[in-house]
């Protein structure tokens, strides 16, 4: 690809750009106002890209459930939950690249930088990896206990997972500052269905098949996210959060 200067030929344009003369800046409020403008520019694009990534992730989660249910029906020698749990971390790590998960980490870092927080980028990556571990370990322990015949003890862990999910959301909501994700109705529906399906795992007659009911909900959530992603850049939300 050849290098090019797209501005060539438009220099005579008389469009006035919002130039700042540092010496002429008359108040700190003005500096803050201008910095908020730059943050807004970045958030607009980041929220669009994140929403699109979430749409793909929700749809991909549906594929995971279908694979698990197929395994549960056909591969009798593998405990279905074990299958789900064993491949989930691998999918998350692989998916982190596919869904732009690493991109989200970087976007959060850029927004934090723009808003005057100077955490290291590595700190953000570590936090995201820790999140994956926290949200995965209850399933690993559950599977291990189930397979060793300690079902009674195992049933503590799906509710624990749901509790962790809620803590994670509440803490994330309070500490993230201006988030790169606009929380929407489809996110609420996705997480509620995930919680219900997780809790149904401890009902012996339902088990892993509880995730079956979540399939249409997840597909719809994914498609809605993909369909509405462009709205993140077309419309500006005053509050930064929408339903």
């Amino acid at each position: 690809m050849a290098l090019r200067t797209p501005g060539a030929g438009v220099e005579e344009s008389r469009v006035t750009l919002d130039e700042q003369n540092p010496v002429a800046m008359d108040s700190v409020e003005e500096l803050i106002r201008r910095q908020r403008q730059t943050e807004e520019i970045a958030l607009r694009l980041f929220r669009f890209k994140t929403r699109r990534g979430i749409g793909v992730a929700y749809t991909f989660a549906t594929v995971m459930v279908i694979l698990t249910l197929i395994a549960a029906s056909n591969v009798r020698f593998i405990y279905p939950t074990l299958f789900l749990v064993a491949i989930t971390p691998a999918v998350v790590i692989l998916g982190s690249g596919l869904f732009g998960y690493r991109g989200v980490v970087r976007m959060n870092y850029a927004v934090a930088l723009a808003s005057g927080r100077f955490e290291s980028e590595r700190g953000y990556v570590a936090l995201e990896i820790l999140t994956i571990v926290i949200l995965t370990w209850p399933w690993l322990v559950f599977t291990a206990l189930e397979n060793f015949g300690y079902s009674g003890s195992a049933y503590i862990f799906p509710p624990l997972y749901v509790a962790e999910l809620f803590v994670f959301l509440v803490v994330g909501y309070r500490t993230r500052g201006r988030p790169t994700i606009n929380w929407r109705i489809e996110d609420t529906i996705f997480f509620l269905s995930l919680c219900i399906a997780s809790l149904l795992v401890i009902v012996p007659s339902i088990g892993i098949m509880g995730f079956e009911f979540a399939l249409p909900v997840w597909i719809l959530s994914g498609l809605k996210s993909l369909y509405e992603a462009p709205k993140e850049v077309v419309f500006e939300y005053e509050s930064g959060r929408t339903g």
Binding site: G7, R106, R117
Partner: protein, 117 residues
Amino acid sequence: MSREEQDDAILADDSLLGRLSSLGPLTNSARVGILIVLLGVKWATFTDLLLAVKLPKSSLSMSLSILQESGYIILRTGLSKKDRPRTLVQITDRGEKAVKEYARLMHELTGGMLTES
């Protein structure tokens, strides 16, 4: 010390303002916004930036030219999958350092109020 006096003290700090001036092209909020975007996504298309910055095409082109001349970004043109011409904008190491330095200076100039507000 009153709020106004605090403002004056901060803005009278020539060393900070001098360092901010040395970042030349970054005295424009749209250009800083472009670099923050590129810091987050590494590269973006011209259309992506147009949607984010919400400037006329000519203004965005001009801003990109200025950033390219300063060595903060690289512009590449190529064809999309549908054989349409498309411009990719990528941040350079110099651009990354500049925007980080800018953020640090703004933090100092605003006396940490950027984080609080």
